[in-house]
Symmetry: C2
């Protein structure tokens, strides 16, 4: 059975000690009552909630799946989800970081990131019924007129209704410029339109957990220019304001490898009533405005799923006895030693542990900067924070989901045959995690976003600042071996960026070829920086006589493990990037 | 839907051109009628059979699964398997490389390796009902007395009955010394014993495709010494020679992530009638004698599953249009270019293609050497071939299943969201492939086998010979860039082996820590050698005016891709190995 206790120690260590969030948040305005002491209380409540309510219906949701009834075109969510979802709404977990003026709690987004991690750890599928609602809330809040806000925001924030994002169509996912869904203005209807088309991959497009579902729909107006500059954003409720069933229906469910408790719907818009959000043809821009938080959420799914996989694998390894230590029997009174004596098993477990802690640091760092980019009173801090969020969001999304998936995979391997069975449940985490590398923009698209959009932003201002910060830290890094290796990693990153500037400007395919290994290099080095810093902070606390010494000593060893096992990839990644595009483009179609 | 055509061109190229099998097999005795021309005919028939009979019931088998009836303790295999299994038996595919004197066809084992690949490509689960029978045949042939041979061999070889291997028990998988199953001699019963115990993970332990199932069972005699030196091997038929239902029952099925069409059984032996094979307490040795072919078979499952995943991904990529080439529109008449214009998509596809071709070369090379080790008339060739098989069997098993799994994973990613759905079927390949890295000895165990048993064999004779062969080839390698990189790879391997000899003799945990990256290094370098050689052979054929030029040119580009993308790992692997054990062993239990 899956084992999970929220990693509260690590979460608090990161927030308070590594990122000194107390200092930053004290300078931002999050309502009079907010303090990080309150945040600590919230964290404990979160842990209690997900462990007690979400985790127990994780496996049942996978087994029950979602049921589609073609007669009524309705969808039943897993029956075991109903009670948990109700508690989720009743306890106010939907409104953590949403604006107070619309019924939200106005807490920092960082707490949402933490909560997203815990939800993914305990029930990714269930959490997704509300997951995309947050995007709908942000879009409405930022771009909709007051009438639409009044009508929808409050009930989305309180979880009375859920939201969706209707982007993808059967012939286009990544390339939204190709969408065919049409919106016709209703004559004399003011902001009202009639929308017709087909959408696929709509998470929570139809289900029976709430009475109304608020769809955000991308569609083209009759006068729309071709391509991605001709897309507008509409709000299309399942039930219209006058209580009628609107013409937006689920026409079937995807049959998937994982996240079986989450209803992934084919949707048909049949002259559905909808209302334009903001200006015409600005839909893609509005979508991008909520993309950072959505992508961070998906990145954090990789982290959360990995965490439960690791905890379960560790619990198995501690109990499984098999074979003897290569150094001689360690438990001579037992018929065999437990498998944690084997270096190979330890490598599997420690790869999981160290990568998770590194990815958590990365995700929270970006989460805190998201708050700072919106709330910090000092302009240049807000700007720097915004740069960091833009730059590292694709890394959070792609690197953490790739690594989180590997963690789940290593956890399966740690259990051997038991990992392959449904009894232990890790195989479900692996299946559930597989989609995180695909949706919200495949990880290949994230890499192109990093190379093509984020690196060149403001003439490279964001990446320069990140590198400067890492260099400055390396100069004061307390551990000399780490210092040398970190400096090497940073210099490789610098070197690669210079190479790219030289070579990719003339040939964009070279940038395309470099994108995926470059994103990985960013992830490896940035996580290395954060783990080195965490270890120094731990060392300081140890020097100061802190007594939680297992946790703090482990931070030093975690850093050492990461630098021995993961930082060694940087030269290989550089070589790979510098091999350019020739070996990729040389094959003609018949040669594949 | 899954796409698969047997890669006959590549198979023939390897057998005839790269490995010059014609020369080797002409010196061995495989019955008067055998020639490699006959083998070519057999290959075409194989392809027709698996494409037409196995593939069509691949998905249905996954969906139907196996059904257990607790009343009768019986198992129904997927209904759609029955017709395909009957054709499999009727067409004689069970007896390819089994001895003529017991009704087999006496063909080279290499053909079996090819057939195993094709079966895994088209229906891994179905093929496993017969897969382990081969091990039972080998064990009987080598170690059983004539009476047992007469009674069982013929009907196992013709596929009238199937066989199992009953090794694992609930508390022990890897460490068989811990087994508890007991065998009591029957007084005055000659070779007859009564066997009692529990076994788990028994593939095909019970099913309705045949009338009788012949179990090979590891058990302990009353006077058995402790540990692995006290295990004996028994044959336990489901139906005894006098037609009685024997006391060996299925008590349940595993619920698994994949290979759902394969019945993975909990078995209970309840005073079951069994007969000792060979000598008492020699069971583990006998098991090892059939382990090479079983491990090669599992390695080849990774290859076969990967091949179908790749072909399906390629077919998808050729049809999917989305976005534009970074070099400007390539199909301006269409609304978008097909996704094969993108460097990142090409990398995913080419990683799959090149790794599969390299792994196929590795598997067939070892398969051919297995034949030579048994049938070659010249002593030292037989010995060298045997060395190669021993040395590389763990590499075939672990490296190819790890890489085949990555191929399936990359294929899923190539399809994006479609890869995650059941419609395309690649997700099933990924799930089916996951177990190959675990069963027949986890890949971690394979690495320990390589480091702890295979490298030291005869004072390192096998590995020295392999390295000499690669060095000799590098000297005559026609492509200079390849030559330099291959030499570097070989020297890294040499260097690591020297380091290991220095460091691991005093400390076996250092060897344990090195095992997994070392096995990977072996795989990467050996596959590099084989792809370099293949490219040179292709170049020769091109120089000779061969007209199948797409295939042959692709071999050159495949080598270039592999050396640019995969051989770059060697330095990192070396660094990882030389980092030793400290970072792995430093954590105490509370620090995990």
């Amino acid at each position: 059975m899956l084992q999970y206790k929220a990693p509260i120690d690590d979460i608090r260590f990161l927030i308070h000690d590594v990122f000194k969030a107390d200092k930053h948040y004290s300078e931002m305005s999050f309502g009079e009552d907010f303090s990080l002491d309150l945040a600590d209380v919230v964290l404990s409540e979160m842990a209690k909630f997900v462990e007690g309510v979400f985790l127990p219906v994780n496996r049942s949701g996978d087994e029950e799946g979602c049921q589609y009834d073609p007669e009524t075109r309705s969808v039943k969510a897993p029956p075991s989800y109903h009670g948990a979802f109700k508690q989720f709404v009743d306890n106010g977990w939907t409104s953590l970081s949403t604006p107070v003026e619309h019924g939200g709690q106005g807490l920092p987004h960082l707490l949402n990131v933490v909560f997203d991690e815990m939800c993914a750890s305990t029930n990714t599928s269930l959490s997704m019924y509300f997951g995309l609602t947050h995007g709908a809330i942000v879009a409405l809040e930022k771009h909709a007129d007051e009438a639409l806000k009044d009508r929808y925001l409050n009930r989305l924030i309180t979880g009375q209704w859920t939201g969706t994002m209707c982007l993808t169509e059967p012939h286009c996912g990544t390339d939204l410029g190709l969408i065919k869904t049409k919106a016709e203005p209703v004559e004399g209807g003011g902001n009202e339109y009639r929308i017709t088309g087909s959408k696929i991959w709509i998470t929570g497009g139809e289900h029976d957990l709430v009475d109304n579902i608020i769809h955000l729909v991308l569609a083209k107006l009759p006068d729309a220019p071709d391509g991605s500059g001709g897309i507008s954003l509409f709000i299309v409720p399942k039930v219209t304001p006058d209580g009628e069933r609107n013409g937006i229906y689920c026409t079937g469910l995807e049959h998937k490898m994982g996240i079986n408790g989450s209803a992934t719907c084919f949707m048909s818009l049949e002259n559905a009533e909808g209302y334009l959000i903001g200006e015409p043809h600005q839909g893609l821009k509005y979508m991008f405005s909520m993309m950072n938080s959505a992508r961070i959420m998906v990145g954090v799914q990789g982290l959360g799923l990995g965490e439960t996989a690791y905890q379960t694998a560790l619990s198995f390894a501690r109990e499984r006895i098999q074979g003897r230590s290569l150094a001689g029997a360690q438990q001579p009174d037992q018929p065999a030693d437990n498998i944690m004596v084997h270096p190979d098993v330890r490598r599997m477990l420690l790869s999981q542990k160290t990568m998770l802690e590194g990815c958590r640091a990365l995700a929270y760092w970006v989460g805190m900067n998201l708050d700072m980019s919106q709330h910090h009173p000092i302009d240049h801090i807000r700007e720097q924070a915004g740069d960091l969020v833009e730059l590292l969001t694709p890394v959070v999304k792609a690197f953490i989901t790739d690594q989180g998936y590997l963690v789940c995979d290593q956890a399966v391997q740690t259990l051997g045959g038991s990992g392959f069975t449904k009894d232990w449940g890790i195989e479900q985490l692996l299946r559930d995690c597989r989609i995180a590398r695909i949706y919200e923009g495949t990880n290949g698209i994230q890499a192109l976003d990093l190379v093509g959009r984020k690196l060149p932003m403001n003439n490279g201002r964001a990446v320069r600042h990140l590198i400067n910060e890492m260099v400055a830290y390396a100069d004061v890094c307390k551990d000399h071996a780490t210092q040398a290796r970190l400096r090497h990693g940073i210099s490789v990153l610098n070197d690669v960026l210079a190479w790219l500037a030289m070579n990719a400007l003339q040939d964009r395919e070279v940038a395309g070829a470099a994108a995926t290994p470059l994103l990985k290099l960013f992830g490896v080095v940035t996580v290395g920086y954060l783990l080195a810093k965490s270890a120094d902070v731990a060392q300081e606390k140890l020097n100061g006589g802190d007594e939680s010494s297992d946790f703090l000593f482990a931070k030093l060893k975690t850093r050492d493990f990461y630098f021995a096992e993961t930082m060694v990839q940087v030269d290989m990644l550089m070589e790979l990037i510098k091999s350019g595009k020739r070996h990729l483009m040389a094959f003609n179609d018949a040669e594949f």
